[in-house]
Symmetry: C2
Subunit: 289 residues, 2 copies
């Protein structure tokens, strides 16, 4: 499928993409480039990378595809650096969790290459990051949202879609605006809330006591608070309009729950919890089987 692909950022997302394509026999050579030499060396030792490049001219020579798997705040800088060396055939996709900002960066830095740019968001995270967290099956059965540009060529979209599909993913398409609103609600807000809860507790005088009694509910609720701070900083900044809208809707929800608590209104609390519980269990029934 590909003779040579370049991964910028050989962490969980980039590393798993490389391992998945290798496992599928869909790539001959995987070249890594990135800001941390130690990370790239680790990725090579783990069999994720075949070559490490220290400059873009060497990396992109003869490349069929470039995957940008860096925190979204880095996309612009990376695109600017790569742009002069993109060849006519080189496809560009990414693994960023926000898409409107990736659009903006592409229009700014990849102007003459837009036909080959097909932004993507693989819905497959983990609270662990780095090359050691990568594995070939990460995308197996997971969704990948493509948000093609109006300028993306049909052939480029088809090839990028096929690449993600070869990783085992179910690929769908969305506008970047819809994408960013959906993920603000079901991903970005929960991350913000989990970070907030752990931050709140860790700053208490009795934090050790509190943590010592935290059980499985706390464990699962806060799992995503162990996520990569820089990655989530970038997502929150990039998607802050949609995230603020979601946060405000949630604050209204909490204000209502607070009023029910103040009033000790058991029936209304139960009704509220019952609606949530039924919806959560129906979701689990449909999507977790």
């Amino acid at each position: 499928m590909f003779k040579r692909i370049v991964i910028c950022g050989a962490g969980l997302i980039g590393g798993s993409f490389a391992l998945a394509l290798k496992a599928a026999g869909a790539v001959e050579t995987v070249v890594g480039i990135g800001r941390s030499t130690a990370t790239l060396e680790e990725a090579r030792a783990l069999g994720i990378l075949d070559e490490i490049a220290t400059d873009w001219a060497v990396a992109l020579k003869g490349a069929d595809l470039l995957l940008l798997a860096v925190p979204v705040g880095q996309m612009g800088v990376v695109m600017a650096a790569a742009a002069p060396y993109l060849e006519a055939q080189t496809l560009v996709t990414d693994g960023g969790s926000t898409k409107a900002d990736v659009f903006e960066a592409a229009y700014t830095y990849l102007k003459s290459h837009l036909g080959n740019v097909v932004p993507a968001h693989p819905i497959a995270g983990a609270e662990k990051s780095g090359p050691a967290a990568a594995f070939a099956d990460l995308y197996q059965g997971k969704r990948v949202v493509l948000t093609p540009l109006p300028e993306s060529s049909a052939e480029a979209v088809a090839r990028v879609e096929a690449a993600w599909a070869r990783c085992g993913a179910q690929v769908c398409r969305m506008s970047p605006h819809d994408h960013d609103r959906v993920f603000a609600a079901v991903s970005h807000l929960p991350h913000l809330l989990a970070f907030g809860l752990v931050h709140d507790i860790q700053g208490r005088a009795n934090a050790e006591q509190l943590f010592s009694f935290a059980a499985s509910g706390f464990r699962d609720f806060t799992r995503i608070a162990g996520s990569h701070p820089e990655m989530w900083r970038d997502i929150c900044v990039a998607n802050r309009q949609a995230l603020l809208a979601e946060l405000d809707a949630y604050l209204a929800e909490l204000a209502y729950l607070r009023a029910l608590l103040v009033q000790g209104d058991g029936p209304a609390l139960e009704n509220h919890f019952a609606q949530a519980s039924a919806a959560r269990n129906a979701w689990a029934e449909k999507y977790l089987r």
Copy 2:
């Protein structure tokens, strides 16, 4: 250890207590009593109960121990009903997630029996409830917090402690006030927040779309939103003072995060997330191994 124990409420907590003591060979006969005949019949069919009692006089005849494993809002009613039939030797413990209200109910309804009353909170939940969710190992390695009354006799405390220890639990002691504050922070607030998030999303016009893109972060964050509505209604009402204090601290946290988002203050967001992430990962390192 016990010839006859009585379980009021043969769900996850009561059923697992019975199964654990049976597995340990620590009880001869387990008698069930409760408001739902169907639940009791199911528990007997599952081997949790040996007998079903329809009145308290029969249930408590010769009983060594009574476990109250009902939603905390029912504790008073159940204590009032059981009180006239408690024998001199009958120990009383419970599985309620709040303790100040159980204290209050004991002082109101079990006045002449306080020496034998030893309230407890097993820190072992699950989002599933009912007898079918019960299993003998639920308490294995889990903590159980005893909150003895000043009136509880040393012997009663020792025997109740031994009963929970035979279930495999690590037993510790706390005041009910401290207990309720700790669990408001690490358990009750996260439940409220998870219920709130799912309630918020399920009420949207595009709820189906949102749910279809919810992934593992959402799955874990909202697992506890599948919990039993009545049980959590009772916990929230019983512990609303401490829960409101926690909710308000959390709302202040969210107000701060909101300001950082409005300002697009990346460094401050990253710093905040990094503190949370480090604390969460340190907690996991210490408690999840």
